[in-house]
Subunit: 119 residues, 2 copies
Amino acid sequence: MAKSLELEDVTQAGCCAPLSGPLLNEDESIELSKVFKALADPVRLRLLNMIAASDGGEMCVCDLTGAFEQTAATISHHLKVLREAGLITGDRRGTWVYYRVVPGALTRLSGLFTEPALT
Amino acid sequence: MAKSLELEDVTQAGCCAPLSGPLLNEDESIELSKVFKALADPVRLRLLNMIAASDGGEMCVCDLTGAFEQTAATISHHLKVLREAGLITGDRRGTWVYYRVVPGALTRLSGLFTEPALT
């Protein structure tokens, strides 16, 4: 379970501190780099994009798998990486798992890249 | 030169479109994944953080190198990766290169993670 809390771990102390703000310590930079490693793959980016943009904010793994040429096993692996980085959650209902974005996860990343207003 | 324009290439067509918005095509997701690959390293994150947070928005490679245990060659390599991803620029003046964040680069990433307002 602990592995799924990485993004939250990084940001809960100083939630959403921008990169233009306080300096990250070594541990924080290691945790944050894992989140970007999860995003550093085109298929994972498209999966996150599809889930984030879906009607109702939720998408069945059956619909995600059908959108790619990769095997269901490969798509499942990519979804696991996104889940372990704290970006999405999965909820099994019957045969299928339904994925949604972890509330606040994208907002925390957005805050990280906020630039100071020009004065 | 083309390699340093990746982030801009991805975002110029639909600048700052959030992941919760239009679906990325395959090429866009490949280009964007390269930016996150540049961010998927703790030393590179700390370098970008130091440059973004520096007084005057600029930092000498001499000061960046001194802050890490890695060799100057390793730090130079990491700075090159950040530069090629379109995140920082370097300006040689005399002996040293001075780095700053590419204007708008962080804002574009911030926009990518913007979540729709809850209604």
